[in-house]
Structures are given as C-alpha cells and as structure tokens.
C-alpha cells in the first residue's frame, strides 16, 4: 500500500488515539506539576450587638479571580510526587530512623496510602494472573473432552462471569457473601459467630477480591485456550500414545509447549486488566482495607467541588510508570515474536 493511501486510511483512528490517549498522558504530566492555589486570607470585621471583632477568613473573590487567571493552580514542580500521599520519602526516612524494629517500620510503611495501594495492586495482579491461566487451562481441557452437542450451552454459561461488567459482577457476589446473604449467613451459622463478616478483616477482604478476580477473568483464559486447543496437531499426540505416554505426559510434553505462546498472550492481557483493578473495590465496599492505584485516583476526583487534579495526576503518572515496569518483559517478548512473524 502506498504511503499516501495508508495515511488517509489511518488518519481518523490515529487522530482519535492521539487526541484522547496520547495527549491526555501529556496533560496528566503537566497537571501533576501544579497544585491548587493557596487561599488568600483577608481580615474581616464582624460586628454584632456586643461589639466588633476582627477575624481572618478566606477572600472568596480574590480566590475566584486567582483561579480564573491561572486555572491550573500554582507551579509546584515534583513536590506532589514526594508528599505524604505519594512516594512520601520524608515520612519513610523519618519512620526508618525512629522505628526500632522491622515490624514498627512496616506498620508505618503500610499506613502510607501509596504503598498500601502498591502492595494491594501487586498482590492482586500476582495472585490472579497465574490462577486465571491455570483455571482457564483446566476448564478448557475439560470442556474440550465433552461431546459436541452439549458444548454450546456449557460454553455460554462459562463465559457469563466475564461479560458482566465488574461492578455488577462484584455486587452480585457481594450480596451473597455479605452477612445477610446466603453464603455469608451460612458461614456465620457454621462457625457459630454472628459477627463473622468478610468485611471485618483485611485478609478476608483481600481473599474475597482475589477470588472475585479469578472468577471474572478465568472465562477469558478459557476461551483463548479452548480455541488454541482446536489447533493442536493430532500426529504428535498419536505418536506419543504409541510410545506409551500416559495422558498427563501427553499434556505436559505435547499440548503445553504448543499452547505456550497463547499463555503469554493471556498473561499480557490479564495483567493489563488486573493492574487497573477498581470496580470490584467499589462493588464489595472494600475501600477501608483494600485500595488500588485506580481507586486512589478516583478518590481524588470523585468530589466535584474539591478535585485534587495535581494529586490525581501524580498518582496517574506513577501508575503508568508501574504498568510500564510490570509489562516491559511481556511487551518485549510480544514485540520480538510479532516482529519475526511479519
């Protein structure tokens, strides 16, 4: 295809992606360097029947004028990045010096919002991604062994958890495991503890969220594995049978190597989706004990009256950097394989 024709074909989609994906990333970076104005103070005289008092208040008019003149706020450099709500170098440093034991330091560490979110996001991603690959693979093997007639409806039911939006999926589960739902109340009866609730402990909340993640993402891995299984060549399998390999050996030495590139693809997509975990936290009302990066950004922006653009933008940049670090190995691999195949 000629360069000129290519250009015209690509123009609309590239304009859309540049305008609404590339430029916003630049915009986040610029926003992260600014912080809201200091509120100018003014002395007001308040008079009541008992006399007049002078009080210091916020000069609303001057503040509005200032915001109108410089809507971004005042320049703050990289200071937002290292404040208490982000990388918190100062707090960490101080905590390190003042704490005598490792556990004392770690409690300081886990109370800083950014690191709290980092640990949760990483734990979630690192638990969910491999489990999804394993479970999806097992389901695919099992369904592949079924007869053709019943496959259709079974596949339909299997992919249900995936097609529902995470907020609804997590709500549906939450209503069941909550103290007033079927699973929650059964567990309370079993342990004979009327106060046992999944929301009560951080550990249980995390386990719930990770279980939800596996439930939601496994169907995707299943579909990809299932379709890839259809392309496994039959000859090497028959050769393996003749050589006396049992079923497990056949899977281990013929099927799994064939599916390896597919597994890399699933890992890539699944990690991309898991790092942005956000809606389940709202669905399970788990904000108190589990916060992810996406939730931190949402929390800065959700109140329309006081939006912390600078803080949200800094978290966004840090998130993007982290996504980059986590995905680079897989991306490089995809790049190489894809580059060769072209």
């Amino acid at each position: 295809m000629k360069h000129k024709t290519f250009f015209w074909f690509m123009l609309p989609t590239c304009v859309a992606m540049v305008l609404f994906i590339a430029i916003p990333i630049v915009s986040i970076f610029i926003q992260s360097l600014f912080i809201e104005h200091q509120k100018p103070s003014i002395e007001i005289e308040i008079c009541d029947p008992f006399g007049c008092k002078k009080e210091i208040g916020v000069d609303v008019e001057a503040y509005a004028a200032l915001n109108k003149e410089k809507p971004l706020g005042r320049f703050n450099g990289f200071k937002t990045y290292i404040d208490r709500n982000h990388l918190a170098f100062e707090e960490l440093n101080e905590g390190w010096r003042n704490s005598k034991t490792v556990s004392e330091f770690s409690s300081i560490f886990f109370n800083l919002p950014f690191y709290k979110a980092l640990i949760f996001t990483l734990t979630y991603t690192l638990f969910v991604t491999p489990s999804v690959i394993c479970l999806g693979f097992i389901i695919a093997l099992c369904i592949n062994a079924l007869s053709q007639k019943i496959k259709g409806p079974i596949i339909f039911v299997t992919i249900l958890p995936m097609i529902v939006t995470p907020l609804m999926g997590s709500l549906v589960l939450f209503w069941m495991i909550d103290a007033e739902g079927i699973i929650g109340s059964t567990i309370q009866d079993l342990f004979n503890d009327p106060y046992l609730s999944l929301k009560a402990s951080t550990k249980l909340t995390w386990i719930t969220l990770i279980t939800y993640g596996i439930w939601h993402h496994s169907p995707f891995a299943f579909i990809v594995f299932y379709s890839a299984l259809q392309t496994v060549p039959q000859d090497p399998i028959e050769a393996a049978i003749i050589d006396g390999a049992d079923r497990w050996q056949r899977i281990r030495h013929v099927v799994i190597p064939h599916l390896y590139p597919v597994a890399v693809f699933i890992a890539l997509i699944s990690m991309m989706d898991n790092i942005r975990v956000f809606e389940p936290i709202l669905g399970f009302s788990a904000e108190a004990s589990a916060q992810s990066f996406s939730w931190l950004i949402y929390n800065d922006l959700r109140n329309i009256e006081v939006m912390n653009f600078g803080s949200a933008a800094s978290t966004s940049i840090l998130t993007i950097i982290m996504v980059g670090i986590l995905l680079t190995p897989v991306l490089v691999k995809t790049w190489r394989e894809f580059g060769e195949s072209r």
């Binding site: 989609t13 859309a16 099992c142 079924l146 907020l167 609804m168 209503w175 950004i297 922006l301 993007i320």
Partner: protein, 293 residues
C-alpha cells in the same frame, strides 16, 4: 472419526464431569440467585434469619400478597429514573459501536496491507495504549474538559469511549483482515480500481464476520463502562452502570438496595441475550488475536 487420542478412561470422565458441574454452578449460581431475589422485597433478599426466604418469599407474601412482586423493577425504572439511564446507554452504545467500527475497519485494513515498518510501530503503540488504566486517562480529561466546557455531555463521552476502544478494535480487525487474501483487492486494482474503490467494492462485502465480532466487543465496552461514564457524565446524563452505583448509597441500609438488585437484573438481561445469539463470533474474535496474531 474417533482417533486414538480421543479414547478416555471411565475414571477420568467422572472427574471431568464433576469438575465441569462444579464450575458451572460457580459461574451461573450468583446470577440465578440475584434473578430470583429481584422479585422479592428487601427483607427477603437481604434476610438475616433465613436465606430460604429468597425462594419462599416470606415477607413478600406479607407485604404484597403474592410470592413474586415487580415492585423493585417498577420503582427503579420509574421513580429511580432508570429508564432515562437506559435511554442514555442506548445512545452511547449505538454511536460508540458505529464510530469505532468505521475508524477501526479503515485502520485495520490499512495496517494489514502495509509492508512497511511504521505499520508495525503503530500496532505496538496501540498495544501500549491498551495497557493504560482508564482512570489515569480520565484524570487527564477532566481538567481540559472543564476548561473547554464540554464536560458532562454525551457526545464527549462517546468520542472518549471510541478512542479508548480503538487499540483493541484495531488489533482485532488487523488480525481479521490478515486472513482475507491480498490477491482479492490486488486483482481489483489491476482492473483499474483505486485503493479506496477496492476497499469499498471488494473488501466491504466480505468483511462482515470480522466487523460483527469487533462490533460486539465495542458494544460490551460501551455498555459495561463505569470509569469513563461515571466521571465524565453529569448526574442527569448517567448511563446504566453509574446510575446503578448511585442507588447503592453510602450505607447498605440507606440507599435503595432493591433498586440496585432489580437494575442489575435489567441491565444484564439484554447483555446475556446478545451473547447467546452471537456466542460464536465473540469466541472467534477473542481467538483471532491470540492464535493467528
């Protein structure tokens, strides 16, 4: 024809069936349960004393006289103005699907036919864009949108969703067009068509299977989206999912929990229908990228 590899032992078959049945229950039961519960009153679905009330409808009979009630649906759709959110969702979904398919087919076709290195770079860039968490992009939109005074309205959200959806659509349609033989449009061009004419008269008639798959995914993205719609639309323009979240309230006991339950059921029903009809296309779409790409 039954090959040697298809022979299985009885024991394995039993384990297999047990596993499948267990998985099906895990996958489907939560939806069935919520569906049943949505026809009951709050005290039955969120019952501390006995979960069997969800089936028997103990309080529902006392309050309404029947075992099933449509109250939750009626209130959510009319009082809760769920119908308006549904209307907004239909508008957003329709335009997002149409526009992203238009942009995506043009781009995907061009990428699949270009032998040059820059096409490869565009695809890799799209993959990187796909990795961006949506909320980080949203934090980039809010400030400029407020300044330009285009925050809160449907058209802005539609364009944003189209753009966010482009990387995936491009990859999917790129893999699809790779499977359409090059000779087809080349023969047309030998006969004197321009590239645009070749696309219009030769490729367009054969591209529908790929386009349907891509369309279904855009539909699911636009319909299911929460992050973008919740943050970029003003309260009265909210689509289904953010509307549903607003019913939850801050506390379980305030809020209109039954509204939320019935709207989860109303919102998932059309999605399940679509998936039932187009199951084959969805599966083929998810795999083209993986197996052939």
């Amino acid at each position: 024809m039954e090959t040697l590899a298809d022979k299985k032992s009885k024991k394995l078959l039993v384990i297999n069936s047990i596993f499948i049945i267990a998985w099906l229950i895990i996958a489907a039961f939560p939806f069935i349960w919520t569906f049943l519960g949505s026809f009951k009153v709050r005290e039955d679905f969120f019952s501390r004393s006995d979960w069997w009330y969800v089936i028997s409808g103990f309080h529902t009979i006392i309050e309404t006289g029947g075992r099933y009630t449509l109250n939750a649906f009626r209130e959510a759709w009319i009082e809760g103005e769920f119908w308006y959110a549904a209307r907004n969702s239909v508008i957003v979904t329709f335009f997002v699907v149409t526009i992203s398919l238009f942009l995506g087919t043009l781009g995907g076709y061009a990428l699949s036919r270009s032998p040059y290195r820059y096409a490869f770079w565009i695809l890799i860039a799209a993959l990187v864009f796909r990795a961006m968490p949506h909320i980080t992009l949203v934090s980039g939109y809010l400030f400029p949108f407020f300044q330009l005074n285009i925050w809160g309205i449907l058209p802005t959200t539609i364009i944003v969703l189209v753009a966010i959806n482009q990387p995936f659509t491009l990859w999917l349609l790129y893999s699809f067009f790779k499977t359409v033989p090059k000779e087809l449009d080349e023969s047309g061009m030998i006969d004197g068509c321009s590239h645009f004419q070749a696309f219009r008269y030769i490729i367009m008639p054969v591209m529908w299977p790929g386009v349907i798959t891509a369309g279904l995914f855009s539909l699911m993205l636009a319909y299911n989206d929460f992050t973008v719609t919740a943050m970029l639309l003003s309260y009265e323009n909210h689509t289904l999912v953010p509307k549903l979240q607003s019913y939850l309230g801050t506390n379980q006991h305030e809020g209109n929990m039954m509204w939320a339950v019935s709207s989860v059921v109303s919102a998932t029903a059309p999605l399940f229908m679509v998936v039932m009809f187009f199951q084959k296309q969805i599966i083929s779409g998810l795999t083209t990228g993986a197996v052939k790409g």
